[in-house]
C-alpha cells in the first residue's frame, strides 16, 4: 500500500465519521464541526489519490486551498447563524430535534 492510498483511506474514514456526526448529533456546534471533519476527509482523498508513481500532482493542492477557503467561509456563516439562533431561543439545537445532553 502506497502512502498516498493510506491518506485516501484515512480521508474516506474521516468523511464517514463526519457524516455520522452531521446526521446524528443534535447540537449545532457538533454538526458544524462534523461538517469540517467531512471536508478535511474529502481533501485527504483528493490529495492522496492523486499521488501516483511517487510524483506529486500540484493540481489537487490548488483545489484543496480553494476548498479550505470555501469551508472556512461556510463555517463562519454557520457559526453566525447558530449564535443568532442561540440568542433568539436560548438553545443551540434545531427545533424538533430535542436537547443535546
Amino acid at each position: 500500500m502506497t502512502p498516498g492510498l493510506l491518506y485516501a483511506i484515512t480521508g474516506a474514514l474521516l468523511f464517514c465519521l463526519g457524516l455520522y456526526g452531521l446526521l446524528l448529533h443534535t447540537h449545532l456546534l457538533r454538526k458544524v464541526l462534523a461538517f469540517n471533519l467531512m471536508g478535511s476527509g474529502c481533501f485527504l482523498v483528493l490529495v492522496g489519490l492523486a499521488q501516483r508513481g511517487g510524483q506529486v500532482d500540484p493540481v489537487p493542492h490548488a483545489l484543496v486551498l480553494t476548498g479550505i477557503v470555501v469551508a472556512v467561509s461556510a463555517t463562519a456563516f454557520a457559526l453566525m447563524l447558530v449564535r443568532q439562533l442561540y440568542v433568539e431561543t436560548g438553545r443551540a439545537t434545531l427545533p424538533g430535534e430535542g436537547d443535546d445532553p
Binding site: 468523511f15 452531521l22 447563524l81
Partner: protein, 492 residues
Amino acid sequence: MSPVLNWVAALDWIPWLLGVPLVFALLAFQFGARLAERLVVPVFGLGLLAATGLALQVLREGPQQHALGGWGAPLGIELYADGLTALMLLMTAAIGLAVVFYSRAYFRDDGRATGFWPLTGFLIGAMNALYLSADLFNLYVTLELLGLAAVGLVALSSGSAALAAALRYLLAALLGSLLYLLGVALVYGAHGTLALAQLTGLLQPGPLAWLVIALMTLGLAIKTALFPLYFWLPPAHGGAPAPVSALLSALVIKASFYLLLRLWFELFAPAINLPAAQFIGLLGAGAILWGSWLALQQRELKMLVAYSTVAQVGYLFLLFPLASFAPGAEAAWNGGVYHALSHAFAKAAMFLVAGAMVFAAGHGEISRLGGIGQQLPLGIFTFALASVSLMGLPPSGGFVAKWLLLEAALASGQWWWILVMMLGGLLSAAYLFRVLRQAFLPTPEDASFRRPPAMLVGSAFLLSLVALGLGLWANGTLTLLRVGAPFAGVTP
C-alpha cells in the same frame, strides 16, 4: 438580420454574465441599498441583453467557449455554453429582472433591502457561473457560492423560525456539496482531469463508477430537494420573503438539477444502467404524489406553493428513466428541460403573486382569503395563469413539457410513468383550485385589505404570460435547446 442583432451577436458576452452581477453585489454591499436600487434595473437589463446575445451566438455559430483570462483547460478555467446553457441563462436573467422590479416595490423602506441586493447579485452571479462552468471543481465552487447566497437570503426574515429554516437549509446544502466533492476527488484520482469535455466516455462500469454516480447523484438530489430529501425546502422557501421564495423555488433548485443533467448524460453515460435510471424515476414519482398530497394539506398559501415545488421537482427526474431508451430519448430530454423552464416562470409568478396576496390580506391563511379575487382581479388572473402551466393544461409551457414527456413514455413503452403524470396533474389541479375557489368566495365581514403597489402584481403577471407563451413559441426554444444536445449518446 438587422444590424442591431448583428452587433449583439458579435460581442463576447460570457465575461459580462459573470462580472456584472458580482460587481453589482460588491457595490451594493459597500454603498448600501439606495445606490443598489438605482443601479439594479440597468444591471439586470444588461444581464438580459448579455444572455440574449449569447443565445443568438449559440443559435448561429454553435456552442461557444471562453478561456477565462486567456488561460485554457486543463490548468485555466474554461467556460462553455451550448443551447441548454443559453436557455438556463436566459431563464435566470428574465426571472431575475422581473424579481428586481418586484423587490424594489416590496422592500421599499425596509431594512432587509440592505442584505437583499448584494445577496441577490451574488446569487445570480453564482448561478451564471455554474451554468457556464465546464470543469468539475469549478462547478463545486459555484455550487457552494450559490448555496451560501441562498441561505443568506433565507436568513433575511427575522425570527427564530427563519433562522432554523436557514440553518437546516445550510446543513443540507453543505452535506450535498461535500458528497459531490468526494465524487470529484474520486474522479480526479482515477482519471487525472476535471474538464467535463475530456472526461466524457472515460467512466467505465465498475464499483468506482457506481460509487461516484451514487455520491454525486445523492449530493445533487439533496440540493434539488428530490423526494424523500425535501425536508429543508418547505420551511426555507415558504418562510422567506416573497421575492426570495421566487428566486429559490424558480431558479436555485434548477441549478443543481442542471448539473445533475450534465453529469448524467456526459460523465456518467457509459456507466448508467437501467435499474439506476428507473430508481431515480421512482423517487421522482414519489415526489409528485407525496408532494402534491402534502400541498393539499397546507393551510398557509406560501407553504402550499412551496410543497407544490416539491411535487413539480418530481417531473424533472422522470427525464432520467424516459431518456434511457433510444426511442423517445430526445423527447424526454426536451420535455425535462422544458419542464424546468416553464416551472421556473410559473412558480416565480405564483410566489410573487402570493406575496402580493399576503400583502393585500395581511395574512396567508388560505381559508380566510375570501374576496381577494375582487380586491386583486389581475393578481388572481396571474395565479390562475401560473396554475394552468403547473397543471400542464394547453396552451402553456407546462403542457408542452408534459406532452413531450408523455411522448417519450409512449415511444419507449414505459406506460407506468404516464399514470404517475396524469395522477400528478389531477392532484395539482386539486390543490391549486383550493386557492382559486377561496378567492372567488364573498368577502368575510371582518376582512380588511390593503392595496399592494401596482408593480407587485404587474411583474408577476408578466412572468405568468411568459409561462403561457412558452407553450405557444415552443419551436424556437427547442431549436436553441438542440444546439450541442447530448441525447444522441444516451443509448445504453
